[in-house]
């Protein structure tokens, strides 16, 4: 029994300090050195980030930025909880946005109903597209890590074509669709905030509930810990992968639809991908290894960091790319401590 029991004892003894906190601290140090090297005062920079994100007046901005970012965090975190990786968030986001931009222009009817139809159709279209990657893995053995990413490019490309040619708004010279009628736009709450914030907030709560309280959440968690154990216990892994990817893609589609119906009111080529919500969301999900509460917190943290980055750039002219550097260092540091394989096992 001695030899057999030891590895398990060792696994239990290897308790780790909260590595996310250490990683953030370390990133702040490296970032500070970078700022200092570029000739600015690191303390000023961090103060501006902090105020820019969290001063009371700036809350709406931060929340507005957090809405898509936390949404995309869920997109990455849900599959990751089960040990799967969805790298196709960009494509799913764009599909959702395009569908949501087209439906209100062509579907007659009372505004709110049209908006609901657009949101639903966006979610379903993007969800199906994401499930395609799972289908490729379960039926044809194409790793989802690869297929989800590769499927993203044609989606982005075709959307770009559609807004440049067939559905281009001829009244402007830009690659964008016609404006969504006012009735179908998402209700405004205050300042830049619209009802999309509440939609994402309720989805967030729903995800937490499913993760902790439902059979589906239990099965996904077990799969993430040990896929073979889940399969041995009777979890239908293939169907589960399809479902999980559908949900993940559907949330990405909703995020796209919320951006279109809530703030841009049309599909503008490239406008959705420039802020790279997908990748920030993926990083937030990785930071928490797919655990939804942690991922949501990390997503909020990144949203605050990025909003603060705008303030810093405005006030003391330190480029906001610094905040992306901070984000990356946090992730790199965590990957070093845990080993790259651990997060995706």
């Amino acid at each position: 029994m001695s030899a057999a029991s030891r590895p398990e004892d060792a696994a239990a003894r290897r308790w780790r300090p909260p590595s996310a906190a250490i990683a953030i601290l370390f990133a702040a140090l490296v970032g500070g050195v970078l700022v200092f090297a570029s000739g600015a005062n690191p303390f000023d920079a961090y103060a501006q980030i902090f105020l820019g994100a969290l001063a009371f007046d700036n809350w709406p901005n931060t929340l507005n930025w957090a809405t898509p970012l936390v949404g995309m965090t869920l997109v990455a975190a849900i599959p990751l909880r089960g040990g799967m990786v969805n790298l196709g968030g960009d494509g799913q986001l764009v599909i959702g946005a395009l569908v949501a931009a087209i439906i209100p222009v062509y579907l007659p009817g009372p505004g709110p109903l049209v908006a609901i139809a657009a949101l639903g159709a966006a979610a379903i279209a993007a969800g199906l597209y994401a499930a395609l990657a799972a289908w490729g893995e379960t039926r044809h053995g194409v790793p989802m890590l690869i297929s989800s990413l590769l499927l993203s490019y044609p989606a982005v490309g075709v959307a770009s074509y559609i807004v440049r040619f067939p559905l281009r708004d001829a009244t402007t010279g830009l690659p964008q669709t016609a404006l969504v009628p006012e009735g179908a736009r998402l209700m405004n709450l205050s300042g830049p905030l619209n009802i999309g914030l509440l939609i994402i907030a309720s989805i967030t709560l729903l995800v937490l509930f499913v993760d902790r309280r439902t059979v589906a959440g239990y099965e996904l968690r077990m799969r993430g810990i040990n896929r073979r154990f889940a399969g041995y216990g009777g979890v239908r892994l293939d169907a589960q992968a399809m479902r999980v990817m559908f949900v993940s893609g559907a949330i990405a589609g909703l995020v796209g639809a919320i951006i279109v119906l809530g703030s841009q009111f049309r599909f503008i080529d490239d406008a959705l991908l420039t802020p790279s919500y997908t990748w920030s969301g993926l990083m937030a999900a990785l930071l928490a290894n797919g655990e939804p509460a942690g991922a949501i917190l990390a997503g909020l943290f990144f949203a605050a960091l990025q909003t603060g980055g705008f303030a810093m750039q405005r006030e003391i002219a330190v480029p906001r790319v610094l905040t992306m550097v901070l984000q990356s260092i946090v992730i790199l540091f965590l990957a070093m401590r845990h080993g790259a394989g651990k997060a995706t096992r």
Partner: protein
Amino acid sequence: MAGAAVPELEAVGIVKRYGALIANDHVDLVVARGEIHGIMGENGAGKSTLMSILYGLQKPDEGRVLLRGAQVHFRSAVDAIAEGMGMVHQAFKLFNSFSVWENIVYGAEPRRGAFIDRRAARRNVAELSERHRLGVDPDAIVGRLSVGVRQRVEILKALYRDARLLILDEPTAVLTPLERDGLFAVMRHLAGEGRTILFVTHKLHEVMAITDRVTVLRDGRVTEQVKTSETDARAIVRAMTGRSVNLTVAKGPARLGATLLEAIDLTISAAGGKPLVDNVALRVRAGEIVGLAGVAGNGQSELVEALVGLRPLDGGKVRVGGVDVSGADVATRRAAGIAYIPEDRASVGSALPASAADNLAMSFHRAFPLARRGLIDASAIAARARALIARFGVKITSESAPVGSLSGGNLQKVVVARELSHEAPALIAEQPTRGVDVGAIEFIHAELIAERDAGRAILLVSSELSEILALSDRILVMYEGRILADLLRERADEETLGLLMAGRAPEAA
């Protein structure tokens, strides 16, 4: 001659650890010049580790290796090759798109100036092949050759570098019987030339047929080192699989009921080889324990995976309680009445970082009382876990502690507790006591007997003969994918089973 007294190769007190696992535990090995020396042991006994150490692929944590009396410190296989060693790996290391001669001279090409002397290289290879009667065409493209011929190319590669000591790592695993006989002829010829051969295998009859001496490993230790002519198959099987603990389990006569678990002509093919499971038929009736004996690696794991639904069938049927579940997935088969204690409790049977409660809930988690309309009832899961922990005497701080902290025996009790609590008509117990302490062994055995007496059909898969003999009412012996024998317990003893496990039919039927 002084050379006759000094062993060709000697290993003294070799220790190799991987984390907490001891792969080689003070292994001693003495190999005389010109002998064919068998290295026996089950999968995971430490054979491959020992060979990599001898060949310089890995460094031992302790111990010395002596070649022709002088201690060597190989930094890599290159050093070993320079000292006249050669190794043929299980997975060949050949360029498939190159010709035979290119593969053989690679890294040691005869040169003319800056160029390879192709003609000399070709000629050398052809001569070598002829001298050792290997019959390999130097111009053939390796990728088009059969597995047996490719293996000869590997042997030629070693001979081209004038290897005086050859390590063959499970060379027969991929060969047909005819190719195997050819290999044996080559081995005898090489030994006759004074070359030394280390022959790694877990097939008993091969060791008996070809080796001069044999060293048996079990759990990283040498359990036997004898002249082949002075031992027999039974002694080697015992050295490979035996366990010193004396197993006695009290049990009454079996009260047989209906057939609850059945395989009909079950076949699992392997890519380009003989099937892993070959037309196996088995029936397990209510109230009996059927023992499936066999040296590990003869198709038992694949058969079990096919029974529980983790591996698709290539032919045949599986019936549970009379219902055909051949195409059904794991969940359906579990619902039809199979519980399964898997061989590997850590990587299949449990989720180590998860709590005991979560582990014990698996495959009960969809139905009442643990779940209702898709919602998990956490308190029901905890209550159930507490009850099972108490009933099975699992030593754990609480049901919310991760099972990764448990000892092997306690973790196995968690797995056994979960599977037995299904009260499923059919139970498949695969190596149910491997690597657990004596107390847990006795406990698990008693539970299995209790299940049998409660009218379950139990298929016990074990490579421990003592366990098979102690628990079974009927014993099947599996060898190279087939069921070689079906014996009542009264008809079986260690000797008969040992011979059958080695692939020989009993002499007197």
